[in-house]
Amino acid sequence: MISIQIEDFDVAAEHSALRSSGAGTGAIATFTGLVRDSGDMEGVTGLCLEHYPGMTEQVIAGLIEQASQRWNVREARVIHRVGRLTLSDQIVFVGVCSAHRGDAFAACEFIMDALKTSAPFWKKELTKDGEHWVEQKNSDLDKTKTWD
């Protein structure tokens, strides 16, 4: 399940969906990203997120496919919000269920790391002194390299 949406999401509903994936599921790993008060600059009050409709969904489907080839993935669910968000809002959710703990963790972290460097989303940070586009971090690129 992949959803790019303006509305907030409900982690409990996502978790339930992953749990109902059958009696072979032994492990659920989830990641939720939130808007925090210090991104590239201090004093962030919100974000505005833009994406490339169509391409975004294809890229994420490809990442889930890659993860499923490397690890035991019974189901993966990815939600990413776009539009205007305020402090502490949920931005992104990645949830994976698997027979095994290690696979659930690895697939969840892989999808999240790869999403940050390859899914076409762009963040603009809003501060009380104005707004600016966030620059890509080398640390994110490095994380993706560790998966190769």
Binding site: M55, F121, W122, K123
Partner: protein
């Protein structure tokens, strides 16, 4: 009905600074994404940044591509800054 044109799209900072969301450009034989970028950079002003000053990513038909990727009539080409989602 874009049988002899290419649709070019811009996102995020590029979309704002170029004040352009979409362009229709003529297709031509042996055109690559890199050629297109060079041609656009030649427009001067804000467009000059496409000439390698800033990192630019390219997608062809909604899949990440390279400057050497060939572009044919009807293709959708997108230029955008490195992604920053998640």
């Amino acid at each position: 009905m874009h049988s002899d044109t290419i649709t070019v799209r811009f996102f995020a900072r590029l979309r704002e600074e170029l004040e352009t969301e979409t362009l229709e450009m003529p297709a031509r034989p042996e055109l690559t994404a890199g050629d297109l970028l060079e041609e656009l950079a030649g427009r001067g002003g804000a467009w000059s940044q496409l000439n390698g000053e800033q990192p630019v990513m390219v997608a062809v038909n909604q899949a990440i591509a390279k400057p050497s990727t060939g572009i044919k009539a009807g293709d959708e080409v997108a230029f955008f800054p490195p992604v920053t989602g998640g």
